[in-house]
Symmetry: C2
Subunit: 201 residues, 2 copies
């Protein structure tokens, strides 16, 4: 995301624009060729800067990957939004919050980069695990104080990852073009059951 | 998969072994680096053959990709197995059939190659669409003669892809190590509802 200049950080004018350009280039490169094949040199070229500047701002390729693929969503924002209100509506709020977030083209780019990299790179796989277990889904599942909270978070994560792949990567129709209402009607009961329903048969 | 020599195909002795070695090398290469970066030269080297032989047997890189990533399952086998029996058990049969198939290490390799390639390659994305809509899930959804069969097939595909990613790619625990019984208890009701339940709210 393009960050605005932040005087209180002590950054020089122009620095935030350069950092944003590098992060954008990194997301495109990691998403296009995956972690292993991506190079600092190629990312620097895409951003129109010297490779040394990329190292200066972001360190190693692994550190740049972490910085670039930070999902630009705040767990502090999402978790309370999903938990607040009628307990019977938690599945629906989770699906609608997720769909609204992923309308953002840049988040889709980050997601594609993660999925592409996760299939062969342990760091990307670990990042997906981290999001599911600690950042977003895990806190929601734990807040509900149901037994098997870890398994519930895994199941919600699996459903959401699959839904996003079908919608944003394979673009399978009619699901790719379904409205938020249609997706919520179909998928919210699944999330609801995974979070608070009977999952042990 | 290593195919046995088939005298009725008229292949020379040794040919089927060579073809199997090339397909195995192709799956490893496509799974490791994705379609775009994989080369016939690298695949030939992995298989210990001349690149010209790869072209001779399989044609272009795209044709080799098709041949290598054919999921080694027969729709004619799976579809009747899922449809046969108690209609209330269709979700459970679908999940158990899928889990049994994916215990196979080679199918997991194919799946990783597909997912990795699908994030940046339209051919791989199209292959996943094809499996969901035409080969496996679509025929099951259509056989049940429910309204919205296409959307139902999409939803089942999304749930299964997500489950496989969590189990075989990100290896998220406890779901990655859950028994077939545990996974079926959690996921079968989802598949059952997507196939024959109310998905329109």
């Amino acid at each position: 995301m393009a960050s605005v200049s932040s005087p209180h950080t002590g950054r020089r004018p122009g620095e935030s624009g350069t950092r944003a350009a590098i992060l954008d280039a990194a997301r495109r490169e990691f998403g296009g060729v995956g972690f292993d094949r991506a190079t600092i040199r190629a990312i620097a070229a895409l951003a129109g800067v010297d490779p040394a500047l990329v190292h200066h701002y972001f360190g190693t390729k692994s550190e740049l990957f972490d910085a670039a693929l930070q999902v630009p969503v705040s767990a502090d924002e999402i978790v309370p939004r999903v938990l607040a209100g009628d307990p019977d509506g938690i599945g629906e709020r989770a699906v609608r919050t997720m769909l609204a977030l992923w309308e953002d083209e840049q988040r889709q780019t980050v997601f594609r980069a993660m999925i592409r990299s996760a299939a062969s790179n342990e760091q990307a796989a670990a990042m997906i695990r981290e999001i599911i277990t600690r950042q977003i889904v895990g806190p929601i599942a734990h807040a509900l104080a149901m037994p098997d909270a870890e398994l519930r978070a895994n199941l919600v994560g699996a459903q959401i990852i699959g839904l996003m792949i079908v919608r944003f990567i394979t673009r399978l129709e009619p699901l790719a073009s379904a409205t938020a209402d249609e997706v919520a009607a179909a998928v919210a009961p699944t999330i609801q059951r995974y979070l608070v329903g009977d999952i042990t048969g």
